[in-house]
């Protein structure tokens, strides 16, 4: 059974609330750090699970898990650039409907990359400035991105999945060479 990824955001919210109630600053920071990390994973797991369903939904569960786990975090950096390039091409060709889809996908990648950076700091940086504001923004950002993702038509999700697959293949090729 797949983990209940949708509950991640509720967990992040509970962590934020717990942090706000702490009297010891060090304990509060520990809660804020966990909240930031969980807010990122709420979005990351939702997207990777849906992309897995789109690409290999017909395979057995364990094969789907192998695919899902192969979606590495750095793939989203290349994806952002690729989507921006596609947007520019659509703009030049005057394809308005495609442009509006790509604007949404670009914004989604922005959320992902910002959350990735915030999570890196929260998980690895010994000094985290403004943890409460960063955690609050991470939660809001994750919630906005999840809403955007949920509202996307399947064709847009497929476009996102297709671009992501390309970057996974590209990374694999570089690793192999």
């Amino acid at each position: 059974m797949s983990p209940a990824f949708d509950e991640f955001l509720a967990v992040a919210s509970a962590l934020l609330q717990a942090a706000d109630n702490q009297t010891d600053p060090a304990t509060a920071e520990a809660f804020y750090r966990r909240a930031i990390s969980t807010a990122y994973y709420a979005l990351f797991h939702r997207i990777t699970e849906d992309v897995t369903g789109l690409v290999v939904g017909h395979l057995e569960a364990h094969r789907q898990t192998v695919f899902r786990r192969s979606i590495a975090h750095p793939a989203f950096k290349g994806l952002r650039k690729d989507i921006a390039d596609q947007h520019q091409q659509a703009e030049q060709a005057g394809l308005r409907e495609r442009q509006s889809i790509l604007v949404q996908l670009k914004a989604l990648c922005d959320h992902l990359l910002q959350l990735q950076e915030s999570r890196e700091s929260a998980d690895y940086s010994p000094h985290l400035d403004a943890p409460s504001i960063t955690a609050e923004e991470a939660l809001r950002s994750s919630a906005v991105a999840l809403q955007t993702w949920a509202a996307l038509p399947e064709s847009s999700e497929a476009l996102f999945a297709q671009s992501l697959l390309w970057h996974l293949a590209l990374n694999q090729r570089f690793k192999a060479s």
């Binding site: 950096k77 670009k106 959320h111 890196e120 700091s121 400035d129 504001i133 960063t134 923004e137 809001r140």
Partner: protein
């Protein structure tokens, strides 16, 4: 006489040059179109590499006291910061752009 300097910048030097010029581009962009003073008390641009070695440009912002006063104002701040980040992506290509919050001016 032959020079001991390398004929071409080494890859690490190239990356540094690119990053520094990207930082200047982003700084110029922000100087021409400064962030909203009612929400952002001060800002600075920082260039660094993430854990994979990819260049990141961060706009470090210190929110104003007013922007953090109520839930509605905080929401406005976060909405504005998201828009700022999204717009920053079209400036200085080749870097990841993020906005990091600070409680005071970061040490450089």
């Amino acid at each position: 006489m032959t020079s001991s300097l390398p004929k071409h910048p080494r890859p690490v030097m190239c990356r540094r040059l690119r990053r520094s010029s990207g930082k200047q581009t982003l700084e110029r962009w922000l100087a021409d179109d400064p962030p909203r003073a009612d929400l952002i008390a001060s800002y600075s641009v920082r260039a660094y590499s993430d854990r994979d070695g990819d260049p990141v440009l961060s706009i470090d912002v210190v929110p104003t006291v007013k922007a953090l006063r109520s839930d509605g104002e905080r929401q406005e701040l976060f909405r504005y910061v998201r828009d700022l980040r999204h717009r920053a992506w079209s400036v200085a290509p080749g870097s990841i752009k993020v906005v990091n919050f600070r409680t005071s001016e970061p040490q450089r």
